[in-house]
Subunit: 245 residues, 2 copies
DNA sequence: CCAGGGGGCAGAACAGTGTTCAGCAGAAGC
DNA sequence: GCTTCTGCTGAACACTGTTCTGCCCCCTGG
C-alpha cells in the first residue's frame, strides 16, 4: 500500500545527512520497535518472506543493528508471541460458567492469532511456559480445577486446548496461503473448486466423504471451530461427577 | 556414525570414472530414492538441516538433478508425508468398538510421526486431502458415522483428531529439540530441571500451576497423550444418543 | 569549552539456502 | 555408425541468518 517511502530508498546525500540526523529526533532502536516492524512485515509479506533483512529495512537500519537488541530470529519470534498474549487478562474463574469461559478463552486465542497473517505458524513453534505468560496459564488451570476437573485431566486440558487453537489457526493460515498461491479470487470461489473436486469422486468408493463434503466446506471456519470447541468441552465435562443427582 | 563415505567425498579420478560408471549399475534416480534419502537426512540432521543439497549429497548427485523428479522442496515434503501414511490400512469400522478404534487410529498416527525425527513439523504443514490419502480419510469418516455421530460432528472430528495428533507430536519434537540444544543429557535430567523451575515459583501467585506441575512433567508423553485422547473420545461419545434407555 | 571513551550502528563477509539454466555425456533407436 | 534424446553436471542468481571490524556520534569528565 504505502510502501513508497521504504521501497527504493535512495540514500540521503552527505550534506543532508547531518541535517536529517539532527532534524529527526533519531528515535532509538528498541526491542519494542523491532517487534512492531516485524509484525508490519509479517502482515504485508507473510511468514516466508519475514526475514531479518526485511525487518531491518522496515526500520531503515542495517541488519546487524538488530542483533544488538535481539538474540536472533528465534528470539524475535518469541517476543512476537509474547506481545500477542501478554496483555491477555483472563477472567476470574466462575465455576458456574466454566464451559463458556473455556470457550471464550479459546475464541480469544484464535482471534488474536488471526489478527496477524501466518501468526499461528510462529505461535506453534513457541512453548507456552514463558515466565511472562505464566499468569495466564495459572488462570487457565484455576479455571479447570475450579470446575472440578481431576488433576490429570486439568493438566492435559491446557495442552489440548492450546494445541487445538494453534493447530486450527495454523490450518486456516495454510488454506489461506494455498488460496493465495492458486490465484483464486475469493474464498467462495475456492470453496466451490474444492467442493467440485470432492463431488467428482466415485460415489461407491467414497460415500462418507461425499456425504460430509458439504459439512466440511460449506460451513465457515467459525462454525467448524465452534464444533471442535464443543467436542472438547463436552469431553472435559464428562469428568465432572454431578453434584446433585 | 558411519558418515565416512559421505562426508569428505573426494571426486573419483577421471581414469576411474568410466570404470565406475560401467561397474556400478548406475541405479537411476527416482522419486522413491529421493524420498528415502530425504528421510535418511532428516533422521540424521533434523528438520533445520534438511536441505535439497544435503539430500543430493546423500545420493551422490548434483542438486539440480533432484529437480527433474521433484517439483521443489514443498513437493518433496508432500511425498514424504504420503510415504508415511499411504500404507496405512485402517480397520473395518466396528460400531461396537468405535472408541477403541478411534484411539488406535490416533496412536498409530502418532507412532508413525515419531518414527522420524521432526516429522511432525513436516506433517503439520501438509493438507490431509491428497488423492492418495482419501481412502484413509474415507475410512475414518466411516468410523465416525458408523458410530452414530451427527454429520457436523463427524466432519469436525477428523480435523480435530489430526490436529491433536500433529500438534502433540509437534510439541514433542519441540521439547526434544530444546533438550538437544540445552546439552542436557537425559530426559529425566531435563524433567528435573523443568520441575525445579516450576517448584521455585511463588506459591501464593501460582498455586494451581504448582499443584499440577507434577502431573505435567512427571507423566510420560504416552500417558499425557492417552488423557488427551480420552477427552476427545468422551466428547464425541456425548453426541451419541443411547439406543436403549 | 574541549578531549576522550563507549555504545550503537553500518558495511562487509561467511556459510549456507531454494531454484534455474545452458551444456554435456551416455544410452537408445535407426 | 550416426543421431537423437534423456538425465545429469556445474555454475549462477538472489536470497537467508549470523558475526565481525570499524566508525561515528553522543555523553561524560576535566
Amino acid at each position: 500500500m504505502t510502501g513508497q517511502d521504504s521501497d527504493d530508498a535512495v540514500p540521503a546525500p552527505p550534506w543532508e545527512r547531518s541535517r536529517r540526523r539532527s532534524a529527526q529526533v533519531r528515535v532509538p532502536l528498541t526491542r519494542e520497535r523491532i517487534v512492531d516492524a516485524a509484525f508490519t512485515v509479517l502482515d504485508r509479506e507473510g511468514y516466508d518472506r519475514l526475514s531479518m533483512r526485511q525487518v531491518a529495512g522496515e526500520l531503515g537500519v542495517a541488519v546487524s543493528a538488530l542483533y544488538a537488541h535481539v538474540a536472533g530470529k528465534n528470539d524475535l519470534f518469541q517476543l512476537m508471541y509474547m506481545r500477542l498474549f501478554d496483555s491477555w487478562v483472563l477472567p476470574e474463574p466462575d465455576p458456574e460458567r466454566w464451559q463458556e469461559q473455556v470457550k471464550d478463552f479459546a475464541r480469544f486465542g484464535r482471534a488474536r492469532l488471526l489478527e496477524h497473517r501466518d501468526m499461528a505458524r510462529i505461535s506453534m513453534a513457541q512453548i507456552p511456559f514463558l515466565p511472562e505468560l505464566l499468569p495466564q496459564v495459572e488462570r487457565m488451570m484455576a479455571l479447570f480445577r475450579g470446575a472440578g476437573l481431576p488433576d490429570p485431566v486439568a493438566a492435559a486440558a491446557g495442552d489440548m486446548l492450546s494445541t487445538f487453537i494453534d493447530g486450527f489457526a495454523y490450518a486456516e493460515a495454510m488454506w489461506e496461503e494455498r488460496r493465495r498461491n492458486t490465484d483464486v479470487g475469493s474464498w467462495d470461489e475456492m470453496r466451490e473448486t474444492i467442493k467440485g473436486y470432492f463431488d467428482a469422486l466415485p460415489p461407491e468408493r467414497f460415500p462418507h466423504l461425499l456425504a460430509l463434503s458439504s459439512m466440511m466446506f460449506e460451513e465457515t471456519n467459525d462454525e467448524r471451530f465452534e464444533v471442535g470447541l464443543d467436542i472438547i468441552v463436552r469431553g472435559l465435562a464428562s469428568y465432572i461427577e454431578p453434584k446433585d443427582a
